[in-house]
């Protein structure tokens, strides 16, 4: 695991509010695996500027940087909140369905 402050960009998609991540191809992906990460504040700023551009054009809502670590190359969010955003509700969404 790297100890550097690594960050990626997340937002909610305008059409359905789903959690999305900014990719190196300047797309938005539902998979955190696809996220582009930034290892220093300068590149984080650039990443955020790109995301803000997409927010302005209305594809996504409320982009922000969040902290991740690279675990064997895989991006893993540091906070519980961001982990839950990648996985969906920890209680599932089908528990009560008959």
């Amino acid at each position: 695991m790297s100890t550097n402050l690594t960050q990626a960009i997340t937002a909610n998609r305008l059409s359905d509010g789903f959690v999305v991540y900014l990719t190196a191809q300047d797309q938005w992906s539902e998979r955190i695996e696809d996220c582009q990460s930034a290892d220093d504040p300068r590149s984080a700023e650039t990443l955020f500027a790109r995301a803000q551009h997409h927010a302005d054009s209305g594809q996504i809502v409320g982009p922000y940087l969040f902290k991740i670590v690279r675990d064997g190359g895989h991006p893993v969010p540091l906070s519980r909140r961001e982990i839950i955003r990648t996985t969906g509700p920890s209680v599932g969404t089908d528990l009560n369905l008959k």
């Binding site: 209305g58 509700p89 009560n96 369905l97």
Partner: protein
Amino acid sequence: MYRYDEFDHAFVAERVTQFRDQVARRISGELSEDEFKPLRLMNGLYLQLHAYMLRVAIPYGTLSALQMRKLAHIARTYDRGYGHFTTRQNIQYNWPKLGEVPDILAELAAVEMHAIQTSGNCIRNTTADPLAGVAADEIEDPRAYAEIIRQWSTLHPEFSFLPRKFKIAVTGAPNDRAVTRGHDIGLRMHLDNAGAAGFEVMVGGGQGRTPIMAKTIRAFLPVDQLLSYLEAILRVYNQLGRRDNIYKARIKILVQNVGVEAFADLVEAEWRHIRDGALDLPTEERDRIAAYFSPPPYDDLSEDCPALDNAIDAHPHFAAWMESNVQAHKQPGYAIATISLKPHGGIPGDASAAQMDAVADLSEQYGFGEIRVSYKQNLILPDIPKADLYALWLVLDRWDLATANAGRISDIIACPGLDYCNLANARSIPIAQRISERFSDLARERAIGDLSLNISGCINACAHHHVANIGILGVDKKGTEFYQITLGGVANENATIGSIIGPAFDEWQIADAVETIVDVYLQQREKDEPFIDTYQRIGPDPFKEKLYATDQAR
């Protein structure tokens, strides 16, 4: 039930059209999120962690079977097959798509429902005693007054931009099932010496980071002067309430700062200008609205019901359900049945579309097609003939809706917490699931008796943890979820705010801590004393000692 008049229909339809246009302009890029956000919030649409969330009002907690089926239909067609009933007599959908929300609102409008005033700094959905019209202890049905308040407050030109949101609750009974003291304004009905009805007016209650119970500013307000008096309160608040600091903007802070008596004087002074004016409804108009809530055509039944007695003797599980989930009715031969949305290990307040349909069917088969939504996040069938209770219970059981735990420790109020909510510090639902599983043994739960346990995922206190006998508040400590316990809260007519017992517990300790508290209670209680009485008698120390003796907490 209340039926929309022409004005209501036209108004709600117009709002749907308006919002459809706003959504289209947002999707086309014409509106920015900053411009759109206040518009969507005015229509009950939030953006949460994983998706949008639509909050639909259930005025005074009353639903028809038709409306319940519509809620099921929406869950099935536009969402993921379920909905979440909240303490504020709303239902929340967790997965609507932006482009489809106008269609959902149109579907709701077709059954006289909407999502207006479920958000924003306006007068919110007025809540009422869920047992309105049927409770044995009731003086008068409070829903007519809730409806009068709704009509007055909907789009009131002066009050759509208040300093902060404003919540009113009303009850027509001495036993308070609507937590009136927990609201910005609470109204509780009393009779004067001449036998005329009036309201005790309580102001400045609220939960959140500064929990305060509302104070009585008028012991008795004749019912016919309700609106002018409410208007006077709102005017004083609108003028003096703080708009510069969101944490100090609720009326509770204003009342605290100027003092209850001074605040009452300001209201009375304002009221003198407007009382006896055009605001208050003439008796005929009140009677017209009250007529919407007139009792259904009850049969003349005997209060004795041998068939029911036999079923109770023959089926212990049914007997347990009767004991916790069934209450006395005004009308002889009828009963009020609570449908628990708290299966052990389930998500408090969630109901699937199929369960909603089943409840709608049952309300028609055994009742008069009416369903209530309670403060406790449960459903209620208000008019069940006693002779039908056993048959009802059998069907409920098939739908996993017959958990015998109303008012018991596993009847937990829980907010969505960090599993859904954007503002959360910690998860609430998994904690509720763990605790309710811990107490799933029927005999043990019955032995513990009445006990309220509420869990909020942050200090906004949406689950009213401050007024629970055992309150649990999720906090974040350096990225880890912790849970702080308060003891001694009460949500009825003697509403009390609980006190923090000590350092917080982590997610793996919290269920043990609750069990420790329950053990102390069971050891210390005298005879049939409920938890809260034991707590008030012995105080927090015995609980503290046991909880922290073994260094359970960190």
